[in-house]
């Protein structure tokens, strides 16, 4: 019913921090480990620079004398070298739709969509940071450690104040590293045919993606009655409905069709989609995406739970 500016970022950050504290530290179960040299805790199951013991092998001539493990060598006649497992950090890119449509908040919900998206993004960032992952806002530079979350928050703040970002409600096409993952927070209300090329351009870089569709409950149920003029938050589209209540069923049908169109595209890319409504607690979405990212499901890939989607109103959780 009413749009409001988002809450001050520091409040959201505090909220996100609280959320993250209640989640186990997130370790992205990277199926395909990227070959970045960056230091991380994902064992590459091969020797390399790292801290965890990997194997002993016989000394070869090319080895430096300093690499000999004298404690092991002393137990036998051969010289042994201690090799460590190559440990690498996984990179997670995040993107939040900061356009005007995200500022929408109806009377059914306590927070705007953008607030919720930022909270979720920061909370995920916190969890990933605790897990040692490198995080970055899409288009920025990935970082690890405590500073990474602060940097993420700063990036969001900067972009939220930038009118260029307020216009664009589609994920940008940037160079992402291979085998990295991206988390996209948006309402994804753009036409699927506009969204698909962008996602494809990201996917061809070898990036695995998770879409978090954040919707206001009013955007599902159309709880308006009587003569009503609807105005789009961006683009200036307007529709005058004589009796808004009579549009409800057909609007819902269209909403479901729209989601199916997105799902179809994601299925092709082997990406996943979560639908979250702002009247539900944020923990619900955080837990779901945490589970999804940590690979606690056997297959990280998206399996369409056809019956939920067809029922029309997926409540939080995964769809």
């Amino acid at each position: 019913m009413e749009t409001e500016t988002t809450s001050p970022l520091h409040e959201l950050e505090a909220h996100a921090h609280g959320l993250a504290a209640r989640m186990p530290s997130l370790l992205v179960a990277a199926r395909r480990v990227s070959h970045t040299v960056a230091h991380g805790i994902h064992g590459r199951r091969r020797r390399g620079p790292g801290e965890t013991f990997w194997q002993f092998r016989h000394f070869e001539d090319s080895d430096a004398a300093e690499s000999i493990d004298w404690r092991r060598s002393a137990t036998s006649d051969h010289l042994y070298v201690r090799e460590r497992e190559w440990e690498a950090a996984h990179t997670v890119w995040m993107w939040i739709d900061l356009s005007a449509s995200m500022a929408f908040r109806s009377h059914l919900s306590a927070t705007s969509k953008m607030d919720r998206a930022i909270v979720l993004a920061l909370a995920m960032g916190e969890l990933l940071m605790q897990g040692g992952e490198r995080i970055a806002f899409m288009g920025g530079r990935p970082r690890a450690g405590r500073a990474a979350v602060n940097k993420l928050a700063l990036s969001i703040a900067r972009r939220a104040g930038d009118p260029a970002f307020a216009q664009d409600s589609l994920p940008p096409v940037t160079a992402l590293g291979q085998f990295s993952e991206c988390l996209l927070f948006s309402d994804f209300l753009e036409p699927p045919e506009d969204l698909a090329p962008r996602l494809e351009q990201l996917a061809v870089q070898g990036v695995r993606g998770h879409l978090m569709q954040i919707l206001d409950p009013a955007e599902e149920s159309l709880p308006y009655e009587g003569r009503t003029e609807f105005t789009a938050a961006e683009g200036g589209e307007r529709v005058i409905a004589g009796r808004a209540e009579s549009l409800r069923t057909r609007f819902h049908e269209r909403m479901v069709a729209h989601r199916h169109a997105i799902l179809a595209e994601l299925k092709r890319l082997e990406w996943s989609l979560l639908v979250h409504h702002t009247d539900r607690p944020a923990e619900e979405a955080l837990l779901a995406s945490h589970t999804r990212l940590a690979g606690l499901e056997h297959d990280y890939r998206y399996r369409p739970p056809a019956e939920t989607i067809d029922a029309g109103l997926p409540k939080g959780g995964d769809a």
């Binding site: 019913m1 009413e2 749009t3 449509s101 929408f104 309402d187 209300l189 036409p191 206001d216 009013a218 955007e219 308006y224 009587g226 003569r227 009503t228 003029e229 609807f230 105005t231 789009a232 938050a233 683009g235 589209e237 307007r238 529709v239 005058i240 409905a241 004589g242 009796r243 009579s246 549009l247 057909r250 609007f251 269209r254 909403m255 729209h258």
Partner: protein, 948 residues
């Protein structure tokens, strides 16, 4: 004009527009109301869904009904509906004859009459008919001519009630001659509700005009609002009895007010009529001295000449002392020398008889009692002490009446008009040829002129004036043979009158006749009420007296106009013969009022002792009766337009609410939530502030008021008066700045109810005519202000509206003032006495003019006792806390930006304006410096005490 029942339409064709209402209904149905707007991100998904719904949206039915009603009201309003259109109609098609009673009885409802005349003129104007406007009491305008509406309005404005009975018969005759051949005449008679004889004949004459074709409407005053008349009579023991008469009607009441010649109110009594009663009595119970000052009675609220009763010297109540040379013979009262005198005097005077037989002590005792007339019966020679005291009393204005008798015959003293011949004269005795003498008619110069001596009065014996001294005395009455019967001489301011006969029937039959009563009455009436008091006045008026006595005519002095105000007589007013004033009836050349010289003016009143007010009973028949109100047909157009406009406003508000939708509701809700605590805080603050002080003055105001001296005036609420007050005080401030050491800042207007008064040394208070009484709290505040040294100048501003010459009622401002501060503890007041500090505070002043010149300036009376004096000087430095004037000071002081006067002064001249400013300067000096100037008189004594 088309009419349905009591409603008619001036433009019935417009009603045809009502058939478009269904069209409007249809239009309104398909025009949707403004939708509520919602920002909705998935709007794109809604696109294309709405088309089926678009046209079915419509306004709620009640909104449509409201708009239809608005349109219907507009159509009805434009069709010019009129309620009771028949009231507005004038029958006939010829000229409109308006006959208005403009005698004295019409004065009290004169405004209603004028508005009714105006109504009829407007109607005639609407129908383009000529108008003839006539007053029944007759004006100098005797011409009957048809007038245009404009001329008729001018004539109506100049038509005034006249102070005598209307002469309807004369007018009827005149009209009858004029309108013989006229056709289609519409006549309306605005009657005053009284029948002066021939009322129904007049109505018949009016309806018989134009050959009996004329239609007649008679306007009658409402029952119970009829005319009142006032007359007086002497009651028992000198009470002033007033009687109010009327022609009948419902029960009603009122008050009669008594005023002095200077317009001061002396008393008030209530009267009340029972239903149907035609007379109501009321009496003033006042001490003799005060009662004799009453010059005018009037019925409060009735502005007509008949509701005013003028009193003259005849109605005063005098004290007469009687002393006889003989011991009173109670056993034979009829032979007592004073029996007839007392009987003759007692109905209209207070007779004081000597208590003892000691003449000397009786004289002393009686003279101390403020006698007007002293009657000595047969006292030959007064003892020397009494002689001197009586002589000095006479010289101060007393009237001494002596009767002859055996003692006087032998031996007179010097208190006689002329020396007497020793020994009397007997007429018709057994040894004489002569017969008892009768009286000759009274001469013009005699005060008894006009009385008719009865033929049966004879004189058998008399004393005679010494022929050598006969010229010293005036002879007021003579016998047929020319010898004096009553002679008189002036001594100082008083008179010595000698009856050459005894006071009883021994020497003549005069004391037993009615003439004797009248003669004594004339003598007492011309006596001075309080010897000594009217000394100056008596001297000044002496020539006039003489003139009146020579001609026997009483010249008009002041006459009443139709509204009961005393005005200077017009040249057309004729004098009245002195003897005929009692019988005279007021008429065009003889309006009621005062006739004669100032000292012995005679009053002529409309309502006389035997006047009866007869109700007018208009004949039934062709005439139509109307009231003075409810005559107008009511135009409904403005009301309907207003209703349509209200509906339009309601519609606007509804649309506003619709378009703002829930936002408005939530705004209101939020606003209420936010304002409730604020209101609570405000309420608490207001309460605590109220508990602290009644004068809510902020520090800033207080500083502004005190950092420089300011003159202040009381804001009356009347913008014009306040503007004049401000201009006046600022003009005075400029004068003060230029001439004195006082440098006042701009004056301020203050609200006596809320503002703090303590900052201002002087408060100028113009009194509004319709001022309301002040609240208890405000009065207490003003009282405190005055007692703590503040000074208030009340200006009733109504000197020009008090009656000319000062006779009669107070002005409207003075009435308002007494209403305003009547409950205040006001010290006794007096006009500024000689040598008062106000006359010398800065300039030396003699009188205190403002815009008007002549009204007195009243100040607190100087306390009589030393104790009071010192108490007051301790409290307020001897400064009067109150000044009251009627001269409108502020208007005289008012200057514009270029120091030009805003108002003319009356009678006028730069000297008066200069004097007005000097008065202002003196008042301000007086307020600021107190009795400093009064102290100057002690300077020599102080210097002496200091040894210099």
């Amino acid at each position: 004009m088309m009419s349905f029942g009591p409603i008619g339409f001036l433009q019935p064709l417009v009603l045809g527009a009502l058939i478009v209402l269904p069209a409007i209904w249809w239009l309104l149905r398909i025009t949707p109301p403004r939708p509520k707007t919602i920002v909705f991100p998935p709007t794109r998904l809604l696109k294309g869904l709405e088309d089926a719904e678009q046209t079915s949206a419509h306004s709620p039915w009640w909104l449509t009904a409201l708009r239809i009603a608005m349109a219907a009201l507009l159509i009805f309003a434009l069709s010019g509906p009129v309620l009771h259109p028949d009231r507005d109609a004038l029958p006939g098609s010829g000229p409109v004859l308006i006959v208005a009673d403009n005698g004295w009885a019409a004065a009290s409802g004169w405004r209603e009459r004028q508005s009714l005349i105006d109504t009829y003129i407007s109607r005639a104007e609407r129908d383009s008919r000529p108008i003839i406007l006539m007053g029944t009491a007759g004006s100098r305008e005797t011409r009957i001519s048809a007038m245009s509406p404009q001329e008729a309005r001018e004539a109506a404005a100049s038509l005034q009630p006249l102070p005598f009975n209307p002469d309807r018969a004369r007018l009827a005759e005149k009209l009858g001659n004029e309108f013989k051949g006229q056709e289609g005449l519409a006549a309306v008679w605005l009657s005053d509700g009284l029948d002066y004889g021939g009322g129904s004949e007049f109505a018949a004459a009016l309806s018989a005009l134009a050959g009996g074709e004329a239609s007649l409407a008679i306007a009658l005053p409402q029952s119970g609002a009829g005319t009142l008349g006032l007359r007086t009579a002497k009651g028992e023991k000198g009470r002033l009895a007033a009687q109010v008469i009327r022609s009948g009607g419902n029960a009603r009441g009122g008050t009669i007010q008594a005023f002095t010649t200077r317009g001061e109110q002396l008393g008030e009594v209530a009267f009340s009529f029972a239903k149907g009663a035609t007379a109501a009595d009321a009496a003033f119970e006042l001490p003799l001295e005060i009662r004799n000052q009453i010059a005018r009675l009037e019925i409060a609220g009735e502005t007509s000449a008949g509701a005013v009763h003028l009193l003259d010297s005849r109605s005063r109540w005098r004290r007469v002392g009687v002393i006889s040379g003989e011991a009173r013979e109670l056993a034979q009262p009829l032979l007592s020398p004073l029996y007839y005198v007392e009987r003759a005097l007692s109905p209209y005077t207070e007779v004081e008889a000597a208590k003892g037989s000691n003449i000397a002590s009786s004289v002393e005792e009686l003279l101390q009692r403020n006698l007007s007339v002293l009657i000595l019966a047969d006292i030959g020679k007064l003892v020397s002490g009494s002689l001197e005291s009586i002589e000095s009393w006479v010289k101060r204005g007393g009237t001494l009446v002596r009767f002859a008798g055996p003692r006087l015959e032998k031996n007179g003293d010097r208190l006689l008009p002329a020396a007497l011949r020793r020994g009397g004269r007997t007429l018709g005795g057994s040894l004489s040829w002569s017969t008892p003498q009768r009286l000759s008619p009274f001469e013009n110069s005699s005060p008894f002129y006009g009385l008719k001596p009865p033929a049966d009065v004879t004189v058998r014996r008399q004393v005679l004036t010494d022929p050598a001294a006969v010229r010293q005395a005036k002879v007021w009455a003579r016998l047929k043979d020319g010898t004096p019967l009553v002679s008189a001489a002036r001594r100082g301011d008083g008179w010595i009158v000698l009856f050459h006969i005894t006071a009883n029937s021994d020497w003549s039959s005069l004391p037993m006749s009615g003439l004797f009563v009248e003669m004594l009455r004339r003598i007492t009436e011309r006596s001075v009420t309080t010897p000594g008091a009217a000394k100056a006045a008596g001297r000044a008026q002496a020539p006039g007296d003489a003139a009146a006595q020579q001609t026997g005519l009483l010249a008009p002095r002041e006459v009443l106009d139709g509204f009961g105000r005393l005005i200077a007589p017009s040249p057309a007013v004729a004098p009245i013969e002195a003897g005929k004033i009692d019988e005279a009836k007021p008429g065009p050349t003889r309006p009621p009022g005062y006739y004669g010289s100032a000292s012995s003016a005679r009053a002529l009143n409309i309502i006389r002792a035997r006047s009866v007010l007869e109700p007018l009973s208009p004949p039934s028949g062709r005439s139509r009766q109307i009231g003075y109100s409810e005559l107008e047909a009511v135009q409904l157009k403005p009301m309907l337009l207003a209703a349509a406009f209200l509906l339009f406003l309601a519609d606007m508000i509804i649309m506003l609410v619709f378009s703002a939708g829930g936002r408005l509701v939530s705004m209101i809700r939020r606003g209420a939530a936010a304002t409730a605590p604020a209101l609570l805080v405000l309420a608490i603050m207001a309460q605590s502030a109220g508990a602290q002080q009644s004068g809510t003055t902020t520090d800033a105001q207080a500083l502004e008021a005190t950092l420089s001296t300011r003159l202040a005036f009381v804001v009356t609420g009347d913008a014009e008066i306040d503007r004049v007050s401000l201009a006046g005080l600022s003009g005075l401030s400029r004068v003060l700045k230029a001439r004195t050491a006082i440098e006042p800042a701009e004056p301020v207007g203050i609200n006596v109810e809320t503002d703090e008064l303590a900052f201002y040394p002087l408060l100028y208070w113009p009194v509004r005519e319709n001022a309301n009484p002040l609240a208890e709290k405000t009065l207490a505040k003003i009282d405190a202000y005055m007692k703590q040294g503040g000074m208030i100048v009340f200006d009733t501003r109504d000197y020009q509206r008090t009656l000319p010459g000062g006779v009669g009622a107070q002005g409207p401002g003075a009435t308002a003032l007494s209403r305003l501060i009547g409950d205040l503890d006001i010290p006794p007041l007096e006009p500024v006495p000689e040598n008062h500090v106000l006359t010398k505070a800065f300039y030396l002043l003699r009188n205190f003019p403002g815009r008007w010149d002549g009204g007195a300036l009243w100040v607190e009376a100087t306390p009589a006792s030393e104790a009071d004096k010192s108490a007051r000087s301790r409290r307020t430095d001897g400064v009067s806390s109150l000044l009251i004037t009627s001269n409108d000071f502020a208007a005289a002081w008012a200057l514009d930006d270029r120091n030009r006067a805003l108002f003319p002064v009356v009678p006028g001249g730069d000297i008066q304006r200069e004097m007005a400013f000097r008065v202002g300067v003196n008042i301000v000096m007086y307020a600021l410096t107190g009795n400093y100037k009064a102290d100057q008189v002690h300077v020599p004594a102080l210097l002496e005490r200091l040894g210099q």
